[in-house]
């Protein structure tokens, strides 16, 4: 546990309330995000097996705090490559310096990783060697240039020998499919992540073949909202490096194609200690692309002792403690549909389970944005050189659940 105080020093004992709540919650993920104690409020997030807890005394927007905590975790991730206890311990001084830069008296100061990196340089092996020889430090001593300009996300004087701009269109399908195979709920959560390595102050505009798809979007602050409203073109001066350009949601039911179907029959016999389990997966509306990386996870009921299954493809594991069945399928070949069937051993004497488990399905389709979104062109103004440009599409399963 590591602590940092801004306004006034709060005793560590407030955390006891948090630990209490944590013990009460059966699962670490179920710890309530806002806990009230007699004098303070604890707002926490759970990321990468670490809890980030903030203690507040006055009325503040909790979302603001949660966003900030996530930003802190993102920054750690960015600096140390991973956001883990070991990483934080190894870099405690930098962590402290970062926190100091990020927040002042409860007001966030600099949260853009570009600016932070100018103030405090991320640790690299090379730099630590150089530092220990020359005695210099990893704290920048000049004021970051971008911080006060109208484009705080970009620093001045960026230089690359190879100028590149890459975009990843990543779409995740969240869906609930009911017993009979019809869609209860489906939507696409899409993001466009960019990796921009361009010199100078490039001004980009990205246009789509079918911008009408995007009616519910959240933008990176760099995007000019007015241009989007009037011309449906994303016009922006990009931050340097990796960032999320936009995220969007496509929800109208008929637009969301469901690329896989599952045939299932899971049954438990009354008064007997066994049941049958049989699932088959097949492709559906996959636009001619291969569906790969399929994994099926099932939380079996508590009374299940063990499972004896045979997969026609891939391999499966069943953890008798957590009762989680994981079937690593791989990719679907339409000629031979993968299936997994066999017997379920139940605890003898226990009543048969009331509920049938839901199936959680993961998959991936390369070179396809399932919503049909397509980038038309990318133009660059303001700089003379010709950049390399590229767009990649991928569709994944998000929270994809099949009820049985």
């Amino acid at each position: 546990m590591s602590e940092k105080h801004w306004k006034s020093v709060v005793s560590q004992s407030v955390c006891d309330y948090f630990f209490e709540a944590q013990e009460k919650a059966a699962d670490v993920e179920n710890v309530p995000p806002v806990i009230s104690t007699p004098h303070h409020y604890l707002i926490s997030i759970y990321r990468d097996k670490l809890f980030f807890v903030s203690v507040i005394q006055t009325e503040v927007p909790p979302l603001f705090v949660i966003e900030f905590l996530h930003r802190v975790a993102d920054t750690f991730q960015d600096y140390f490559g991973e956001c883990s206890e070991a990483a934080i311990k190894d870099n405690v001084v930098i962590v402290y310096e970062l926190l100091e830069e990020m927040l002042d008296n409860g007001f966030p100061l600099a949260t853009e990783s570009n600016i932070l990196k100018e103030l405090i340089k991320p640790p690299t092996i090379l730099r630590s060697v150089v530092n220990s020889i020359t005695g210099s430090s990893n704290v920048g001593d000049t004021l970051p240039t971008g911080q006060l300009s109208n484009i705080p996300w970009r620093r001045a004087g960026v230089k690359y020998t190879n100028n590149e701009a890459y975009f990843d269109v990543v779409e995740e399908i969240d869906a609930i499919i009911d017993k009979s195979g019809s869609t209860v709920f489906a939507e696409i959560q899409g993001v466009i992540d960019a990796c921009i390595k361009l010199s100078g102050m490039p001004d980009l505009s990205l246009s789509f073949m079918n911008p009408r798809l995007l009616d519910d979007v959240s933008f990176h602050p760099c995007i000019r909202f007015k241009r989007w409203e009037s011309e449906r073109v994303l016009s922006f001066i990009p931050p340097d490096g990796n960032f999320r350009l936009i995220s969007y949601r496509v929800s109208s039911q008929n637009l969301v194609a469901i690329p896989v179907y599952v045939k299932h029959s899971i049954s438990f016999k009354e008064n007997s200690s066994c049941g049958r389990f049989d699932i088959t997966i097949g492709p559906k509306q996959n636009m001619g692309k291969t569906i790969e990386g399929i994994t099926v996870t099932v939380h079996m009921p508590k009374v299940v002792l063990n499972m004896n299954l045979t997969p026609t493809q891939g391999s499966y594991t069943f953890d008798p403690v957590t009762k989680v069945l994981t079937w690593d399928v791989g990719k679907i070949t339409p000629q031979k549909l993968p299936s997994l069937k066999g017997l379920v051993n139940l605890q003898s004497g226990a009543p048969k389970p009331e509920e049938n488990p839901s199936l959680n399905i993961q998959f991936k389709i390369q070179q396809l944005a399932i919503s049909g979104l397509k980038v038309n062109r990318l133009d660059m103004y303001g700089e003379k050189y010709k950049p390399f440009k590229g767009v990649k599409y991928v569709t994944k399963a998000g929270k994809f659940q099949v009820r049985t």
């Binding site: 993920e29 004098h39 979302l63 603001f64 008296n105 704290v139 001593d141 969240d174 519910d216 939380h299």
Partner: protein, 828 residues
Amino acid sequence: MTDSKYFTTTKKGEIFELKAELNSDKKEKKKEAVKKVIASMTVGKDVSALFPDVVNCMQTDNLELKKLVYLYLMNYAKSQPDMAIMAVNTFVKDCEDPNPLIRALAVRTMGCIRVDKITEYLCEPLRKCLKDEDPYVRKTAAVCVAKLHDINAQLVEDQGFLDTLKDLISDSNPMVVANAVAALSEIAESHPSSNLLDLNPQSINKLLTALNECTECGQIFILDCLANYTPKDDREAQSICERVTPRLSHANSAVVLSAVKVLMKFMEMLSKDLDYYGTLLKKLAPPLVTLLSAEPELQYVALRNINLIVQKRPEVLKHEMKVFFVKYNDPIYVKLEKLDIMIRLASQANIAQVLAELKEYATEVDVDFVRKAVRAIGRCAIKVEQSAERCVSTLLDLIQTKVNYVVQEAIVVIKDIFRKYPNKYESVIATLCENLDSLDEPEARAAMIWIVGEYAERIDNADELLESFLEGFHDESTQVQLQLLTAIVKLFLKKPTETQELVQQVLSLATQDSDNPDLRDRGYIYWRLLSTDPVAAKEVVLAEKPLISEETDLIEPTLLDELICYIGTLASVYHKPPSAFVEGGRGVVHKSLPPRTASSESTESPETAPAGAPPGEQLDAVPTQGDLLGDLLNLDLGPPVSGPPLAASAVQMGAVDLLGGGLDSLMGDEPEGIGAPSFVAPPAAAVPANLGAPMGSGLSDLFDLTSGVGTLSGSYVAPKAVWLPAMKAKGLEISGTFTRQAGTISMDLQLTNKALQVMTDFAIQFNRNSFGLAPAAPLQVHAPLSPTQTVEISLPLSTAGSVMKTEPLNSLQVAVKNNIDVFYFSTL
């Protein structure tokens, strides 16, 4: 080489070693030592003994070392104020440094050192920094003013920093504007009276311009500040809304929610016929839905807020039901919130979908969630009449599963369905009776007993069923006992011949063998009713019951309006106004939605007419959060509310408690007071602290009171009960009772100061209540109430106030104000 090594040294001579290293000549060694000190500090070890040595390292041109020393200073300066003075010179020097980064750093750190002596030295450098040429320094200095105000408010005012801060709102740099706004808001929050943020159309315009250019945090500050502004007419409101809407597409959910707050608030001012109103409604939905795809913690906060928004303006999300469908791996706190919102959005159009989902949830693993899902089915039945039949059959299906807690929940909700649609679904009673034995929770047992009693004439073996419950009468919870008593009396009135013995038995159990006053009282009332006038008993006990209201857990409209102003804040997560939980000496400003002042329309106060709700609904919407006991009581005894209100209240009061017993006879004296129209709440007039008054006045007051008590004859005075415990009211304890002297009702209060400071300026105010009770004179506390002192006051009451049916009928909500804060409590 990692920093984890700093954690490893835990040897005994550690402090000495560090001391030596700190005083080393080698820069590198010094820095390592400071790092070790900082590492110890982060894990909570006390390294304050090293203070002078660390401060000595401060004069360095190495920025990293400087930063580390500053970090250390912030933590320990308070415990070593004399030593901290040593650092002042360096600070002052650093504030003049050519490097803006160092200037800002120095001013920032100085503001964090909460030592009075240091703050004095801080003023000059701060003044310079507020006018610094570099915006980075200016914006840091702006925050510093807020810090300084927190330490020493007087100093800030004397030095004129507030005016400088106000000037910064017009700064050319948006970040400086944002920070100035943030600092001013924080100061204004702690001093509600000061008129710091007097916004006018010009400054609003500046804020809106800065809004487009500053960082996300700045946007949040500006939006929150905008939300406190009241535009002068609908046109201005609309133009602000137009400029705020783009924020809804921001990636930061806090910005989105703050923007939603501004829009929700200003929408109140827009006419519903306006095209723009419809456009705005449409624009609100997508960003709210998008919030639900964020991390679960964000989802939770968003859902709590959506819950409020849906209650205020259900039309916003009426087409978005599906996004609230629960995924099985959602954390439980998200599941429960989603369920709540689903019910609020349920309508005839989507009920089929909702029911199918709810049924699915009812077979899940998580017990709490399943229970709530079953309850939700019942609420759907009550809310959407057309679906009632479907809901009942779904519930029956669930009862067939025989899962214990599902059955119990189902029975509880079926009872509610019976109350909403009497004589419609009685065919299911047989199925319910089959499950009688499996019920082990009081609520379910009570519900089942109520059903048996209510429909005793249709259940052949009702007497046997009730008798079986009677065997363990004393082991049951109060709730079940009360219900059993009532049910048996009902049964007796319906089938007097066969059940005489049973009713005798239960009455004697309730009146003679029980210690519970509620139970005993009810027992006696029934007994007397039955023995004196069985016909009247029948009228009372078997009276037609009022139908239960559609939704019982709506937030009271005025509270809802206040909460809408707090969207995105903690208040919105707890669904309580900040005054109910925010601590500390800070006064809390009550916010309210702006009244609609459209140029063409007449002023309409949102308090009296919440948009969309017909006036009749208001009465039902009083929160009755789970006071099931009271509910059950009313359920049995409440004659139709349509009858003369006076009689109704008299019966209920008598049944509910003794305190009321005194009151209802009092009420008889002044029936004309009831229904008196429009009541202007007396402003919480502060009684001037009569400092010059002789101390004896308190005493004579006491004498007055005793003589007053002496003249009381005949009428019953309940002993004083503690109404407001000291813990809840920052040391003010209030206990009291109601008395009647010569035809006037008065409230006898005993105020005790259990805090360490003197209390003055008392004032009292009542919420609208069933009997129109209102104070007839201001609360007179003549001398300041010093610690541990107690004062007794008799407050004359009149019944000329305005009347609003409260739930339970005889509850009275009272606000008491003193120099510390305003406290609320309710009495019966």
